[in-house]
């Protein structure tokens, strides 16, 4: 996924799907119960933790893909004082 725009869209959409699984009516209701208990946690708690762990993994993957394409090391030279003043005058 070389295009940063497409990449952002894919990861943001995946992120939102996961958030909906933890919160949207119908999807959330499925998890809103005590049994089965997992790692001694009620299922409601486990589901929220599980979804959030998936979100963190997704964020880490997103970051690593951005890093792979060098999109984290973009830098820019600030405008000089004179350029800024000119900008203000024109405005």
């Amino acid at each position: 996924m070389k295009s940063i725009g497409k990449r952002n869209l894919f990861f943001a959409a995946s992120f939102i799907v996961l958030v909906l699984l933890a919160s949207f009516p119908g999807l959330f209701d499925f998890s809103n119960k005590i049994e089965p208990r997992i790692f001694s946690l009620p299922f409601s708690y486990f589901w929220q933790f599980f979804i959030n762990i998936l979100i963190f993994l997704l964020l880490i993957t997103w970051y690593l893909v951005d890093a792979k394409y060098g999109d984290l090391d973009i830098d820019i030279e600030p405008l000089t004082k004179v350029q800024l003043q000119e900008l203000e005058v024109r405005k």
Partner: protein, 505 residues
């Protein structure tokens, strides 16, 4: 008494580590610290600023009083970080190139409208004010509780105000973030450790605590909680409105301008929610377990302090200091952002030829005026303040489409942004105040209707006009920066572009 000694030591450390930052002379340094902070600083600053002191008092009503519902903060905090990740690149590039110091100023650049800047700036100040008041009150309450009533809440609040005003006015953003590093680390390591210890003291561990809750109070382990009848849409609403609005607070957003690179911001967007999640999960589990105790359940706003006191004086002293650290971190960020916004987004827009020295003076004077006004207003009922603070989320969320569409959609324009923000806020506030039956029956909060209104207005306005010329130039800034990854600076590569930008402005 031990609590006061701990809090005083904490204040002394905050001043000691900031000594070299006092006496900033340039306004840009006051506002943004000249983009000098790396990933650890930004992560801890976002984490410590974002979790408020009132989490342990006013908002314990959810975790202690109702149990599971308090966990909404976990998912909404994660959703907030999506906003941070998405805005990172363009905020950094435009912020650095055009010497931008506030979120409102960034919107001025994007929409080429001082009016958008003024409205975003004022919205940030107005919607933030209740949080500031609530934090001052929290500090007073903590002093009062920690000294067994020896220091009155008003005197406690004044001590907190003096400490924060002093280091914010003297050191600006640099002081705020330097203190945030210490405050955030203290909150995470000591706070999480103390709360885990309390869980073991009260229930013999997380598993044992959950077993007891399943047996004795199973209703606290699912939504909506004991004695509450709410549709699921309420759960969705509080996550969506808080999650999308959460990164739009100027006191959180403006931290991005202090960052030294896009890499630092994006790494912070990974680290801040993970340390925040660990901290908050332990907080939530402790709160839910405390429900089993009558004293905590009947007075949830005092539950964490009471429980710490039951464990022993050292734990009470540590808990008081943790809450104070959480509160001071947020308050310093708010005060710095408000004073910067008053100077840069309000005063500068009203009177254009303000010198840097005057801007600096306005910011510093604003710090003290805000402090004085809050000290007077902070005598109001805390219960009313919580409602106003929650109401403010229904307002701040209107900035979300303005920022996100502004950064990602070329067609977004000032007409849509202004009309959307104003009409969306009116819709949201009217529905919140009048509370028509459908709000309660359907469960979607007023902010959701306001958010949809703002977005629809912006989309319609966007298609009603062609893309503006200055937007193409801003997009060119991004493309040029991307095509010169860590190589030549933009101006050196394409001097004509910079001059085009100047011309179009």
């Amino acid at each position: 008494m031990l609590s006061i000694i701990f809090i005083v030591i904490f204040f002394v450390i905050v001043f000691a580590i900031n000594a070299k930052n006092f006496g900033v002379k340039s306004f840009e340094e006051y506002a943004t610290a000249r983009g000098s902070f790396g990933v650890l600083a930004i992560s801890l600053a976002v984490f410590s600023t974002w979790y408020v002191g009132a989490t342990f008092t006013a908002f314990a009503g959810y975790s202690v009083g109702y149990g599971f519902i308090g966990l909404y903060v976990l998912t909404y905090a994660t959703l907030t970080m999506l906003s941070m990740y998405l805005v990172a690149e363009k905020t950094y590039i435009w912020g650095k190139k055009y010497h931008i110091g506030t979120q409102a100023e960034l919107m001025d650049l994007r929409y080429k409208s001082s009016m958008v800047r003024l409205v975003v700036g004022i919205a940030g100040i107005v919607f933030t004010a209740p949080w500031l008041l609530m934090e001052w009150i929290t500090q007073g309450v903590i002093f009062n509780y920690a000294t067994n009533g020896l220091i009155s809440p008003v005197v406690g609040m004044l001590i907190g105000i003096v400490v924060v005003l002093a280091y914010v006015s003297l050191g600006g953003m640099k002081s705020v973030i330097t203190a945030n590093i210490f405050q955030g680390a203290f909150m995470f390591f000591v706070g999480t450790g103390v709360m885990l210890y309390m869980i073991f003291k009260f229930s013999g561990g997380i598993a044992a605590g959950m077993d007891s809750l399943v047996t004795n109070h199973p209703e606290t382990l699912t939504f909506p909680g004991p004695g509450w009848e709410l549709p699921t849409a309420f759960w969705t609403s509080i996550i969506v409105t808080s999650g999308l609005g959460g990164f739009m607070w100027p006191w959180v957003y403006n931290k991005l301008f202090a960052s030294d690179s896009i890499r630092s911001i994006k790494q912070s967007a990974l680290i801040a929610p993970i340390i925040g999640a660990i901290f908050y999960v332990v907080f939530q589990l402790l709160g839910n377990i405390l429900y089993m105790n009558d004293t905590a359940r009947n007075k949830p706003e005092e539950a964490y302090m009471w429980a710490a006191g039951e464990v022993g004086p050292v734990v009470l002293a540590l808990m008081s200091t943790i809450i104070m650290a959480t509160s001071i971190a947020t308050v310093s960020g708010i005060i710095q952002a408000m004073s910067t916004s008053i100077s840069r987004d309000v005063a500068t827009v009203i009177k254009k030829d303000i010198s840097e020295k005057t801007a600096m003076k306005i910011a510093r004077i604003s710090v003290f005026i805000i402090g004085a006004i809050c000290a007077v207003l902070a005598t109001v009922d805390v219960g009313a303040l919580i409602n106003i603070a929650l109401l403010s989320y229904q307002g701040i969320i209107m900035i979300f489409p303005v920022v996100i569409l502004g950064l990602y959609w070329k067609r977004a324009n000032k007409e849509g942004a202004l009309a959307g923000m104003i009409i969306g806020t009116i819709v949201s506030m009217t529905l919140t105040v009048t509370e028509p039956a459908f709000i309660t029956n359907l469960g979607w909060s007023a902010g959701v209707y306001g958010l949809i209104t703002t977005t629809v207005i912006m989309l319609i306005a966007g298609y009603a006009k062609p893309v503006e010329a200055h937007v193409e130039d801003l997009w060119n800034d991004i493309e040029t920066a991307r095509s010169n990854k860590k190589s030549a600076p933009l101006n050196a590569v394409d001097p004509a572009l910079a001059s085009t930008n100047l011309k179009n402005k």
